[in-house]
């Protein structure tokens, strides 16, 4: 199976502004997150991948198809959920989804039948005959997902699909995305909401200033700092001796709390320093846990590396 998308030296300039700066990456996986601050180039990348915007230079391919030359084929195999409402006033949910199916090249009969199926799938079955502009924010997001699914794409580009949704609606949307991944539909999820990406994605691409700052498996990104640990202990006093002994052995203490310390070891293999210091200062250790980075920390670290190289 071809990769989700690849970019090779992809450059996109709008006048003097460089939206994509020599982007080279290869993304595969089932559900992939695309992260980045505003102006990072996420939407421009999606636009280039859909063949809407021609790249200034470089190449991009989606599902193995050249984005500049085979855009019609790509668009047949890709579903796109835009960030904005993009609903057509006056259309019912069914009419809207059926219309988008017709635009994708489905016959009227197929499009109508499929519209009912996908509206049921996104749990809009009971609201299907209501005008779409009367839908709540969550329903509109699910309607947009339905229109992207109507022609049964192999790949979905989701641009901020949980924007403006209440917690319950957000959970429903994330469950749908997970389910789509299980059904074999590959998903590129562009979002500002890191917990959403953390929950449903296995891979992530972090962009900033038109460049890829970091990419890879989320779990590996979270383990980006192998020397960071949390020490839990029980001390008769305030544990000052223990802290001093650690510092004498080149251990940096980042965080202090009663009965716990956030530390950074001089090397990844130096856990014995903690055990020895505890023994010497008569401290009872209750735990020594490698510190798990959050996706947010990984994201902020990537942004910080870009700003202060």
């Amino acid at each position: 199976m071809a990769e989700m998308f690849t970019c090779n030296g992809l450059v996109k300039r709008y006048g003097k502004v460089c939206a994509l700066n020599s982007l080279t990456l290869s993304v595969d996986g089932t559900v992939v997150g695309l992260l980045g601050p505003n102006g990072a180039g996420k939407s421009t990348l999606i636009s280039v991948l859909l063949g809407q915007t021609p790249a200034t230079s470089g190449k991009a391919a989606v599902l193995g198809l050249d984005a500049a030359r085979r855009q019609n084929l790509i668009r047949r195999r890709v579903g796109f959920v835009p960030e904005n409402d993009c609903l057509i006033p006056g259309m019912t949910g069914t009419g809207y989804v059926c219309y988008t199916g017709r635009l994708a090249g489905m016959s009227y009969k197929d499009a109508m039948q499929r519209a009912h199926e996908v509206l049921d799938y996104v749990e809009l079955g009971e609201a299907r005959y209501r005008p779409a502009e009367q839908y709540s924010a969550g329903m509109k997001q699910r309607l947009k997902l339905a229109q992207a699914l109507v022609h049964d794409p192999d790949l979905l580009f989701l641009d901020e699909p949980t924007n403006g949704m209440d917690p319950q609606g957000r959970q429903t949307m994330l469950s749908l995305i997970t389910d789509l991944g299980r059904a074999g539909i590959r998903v590129l999820l562009s979002s500002h909401l890191l917990p959403d990406v953390d929950r449903v994605c296995e891979q992530v691409v972090i962009m900033g200033g038109g460049e890829v700052l970091s990419s890879g498996n989320i779990d590996e990104m979270k383990r980006a700092h192998p020397t960071l640990y949390t020490v839990e202990f029980v001390a008769e006093g305030d544990g000052e001796d223990f802290r001093q002994r650690l510092q004498e052995n080149n251990v940096t203490i980042h965080q202090r709390a009663e009965g716990s310390l956030g530390i950074e070891l001089p090397t990844a293999e130096a856990q014995c320093i903690v055990l020895q210091a505890a023994r010497e200062t008569n401290i009872k250790l209750r735990g020594l846990h490698p510190k798990q980075n959050s996706l947010e920390e990984a994201f902020m670290a990537a942004i910080a590396r870009q700003q202060n190289p």
């Binding site: 939407s43 421009t44 999606i46 636009s47 859909l50 809407q52 915007t53 021609p54 019609n72 668009r75 047949r76 890709v78 579903g79 796109f80 835009p82 904005n84 409402d85 993009c86 609903l87 057509i88 006033p89 006056g90 259309m91 009419g95 219309y99 988008t100 017709r102 635009l103 994708a104 090249g105 489905m106 016959s107 197929d110 499929r114 199926e117 049921d120 799938y121 996104v122 749990e123 079955g125 229109q147 699914l149 022609h151 049964d152 580009f157 641009d159 469950s175 749908l176 389910d179 789509l180 299980r182 059904a183 074999g184 539909i185």
Partner: protein
């Protein structure tokens, strides 16, 4: 309380059908556009009311048919007056009216066409401004350009919507009137006499469809607020007519036969329609004395200037619209 499980609990089901490889997406845009526009009661009302032109044409055909039978009798005198009032021809001294059927029918259609132009203006004002402007306002362009829809296909679909409504005003009533007139006046013989008229009606109607559709699409692509588009359309149509009226008032006839006579788009269209229908040549080729039809011919004009003005506006509008739609298509993901 509904205790049935959510359908999504059954999971996503793949679709095994085939997407069409043909580029018929403009048809989907056209059908959806017509359906949505036709929901507006005012538009529906305007389209239905345009059939009054068919009724008017039929009434005139009926009168002409009666005059062919009653020519010279006392009963015909009132009808001569009516015909003179509408078509500006004095038929009171003409005996064999059937010999002039074709030219009279041409005059009837031209008379109706000039009225229909106003109706086209009103219908476009209601049906046209929102075609692209509404998509811009609703930021709906991504749903088109994330699919195999090209800017040209999109434009074609939208243009067909406005073409449909213009056609319903300027083509359908005339063709219906032609069929009615043919069926009620002599059958096959009249059919042979007036067959060329059907072609002329299609050409003039088609011209209005292309011109009006192109201009309103271009205007609609310039704003996301259809009220501004509406104002632009009204200004585009009425200001030149007013300027032309002033020019005709203050300038002598001979100076308004060139560019200065082509300021009004309404006049440009009617001069072009006169040429397509060949009305001047048709009347002048009859053996009738000039005073019978002189008033029907109106102010003499060359075709070149009106044709150039109309062509320039049509091509310019199409170019503007195309460039705007290409621009929208390229920024659709960022819309």
């Amino acid at each position: 309380m509904n205790t049935a499980p959510a359908t999504s609990a059954h999971g996503y089901r793949r679709w095994s059908g085939q997407l069409s490889r043909r580029r018929w997406t403009w048809l989907a845009i056209f059908v959806a556009g017509v359906r949505l526009t036709n929901r507006a009661t005012k538009v529906r009302g305007l389209v239905w009311m345009s059939f009054m032109f068919a009724v008017g044409s039929c009434a005139l055909f009926y009168m002409l048919a009666r005059l062919e039978i009653l020519a010279g009798s006392d009963e015909a005198s009132d009808m001569y007056g009516l015909i003179n009032m509408f078509l500006h021809v004095d038929l009171s001294g003409v005996k064999q009216l059937a010999d002039f059927r074709e030219v009279l029918w041409r005059s009837v259609f031209l008379f109706m066409f000039k009225g229909e132009l106003f109706w086209v203006f009103v219908v476009i004002m209601r049906a046209g401004p929102g075609l692209i402007a509404d998509d811009l306002k609703a930021r709906a362009l991504p749903i088109y350009f994330a699919r195999p829809v090209t800017p040209l296909t999109y434009m074609m679909g939208k243009w067909m919507v406005v073409a449909f409504f213009i056609g319903m005003v300027v083509l359908v009533p005339n063709l219906l009137a032609l069929i009615f007139g043919t069926l009620t006046t002599g059958g096959l013989q009249t059919f042979g006499q007036t067959l060329a008229l059907a072609g002329d009606l299609l050409i003039t109607g088609g011209g209005v469809v292309v011109f009006g559709g192109a201009v309103v699409l271009a205007l609609s692509s310039l704003s996301s607020d259809k009220r501004y588009v509406m104002v632009g359309w009204v200004a585009f149509c009425l200001l030149p007519v007013m300027a032309q009226a002033v020019l005709f008032k203050v300038l002598p006839d001979e100076t308004t036969s060139g560019w200065l006579g082509s300021v009004s788009l309404y006049r440009d269209i009617t001069v072009t329609a006169d040429w397509v229908f060949g009305i001047r040549a048709a009347w002048e080729s009859t053996p009738l004395p000039r005073e019978v039809f002189d008033r029907a011919l109106g102010r003499q004009s060359t075709l070149v200037y009106p044709a150039v003005v109309l062509l320039t506006f049509t091509i310019g509008s199409l170019l503007i619209c195309y460039c705007r739609v290409v621009r929208f298509s390229r920024s659709a993901a960022n819309a």
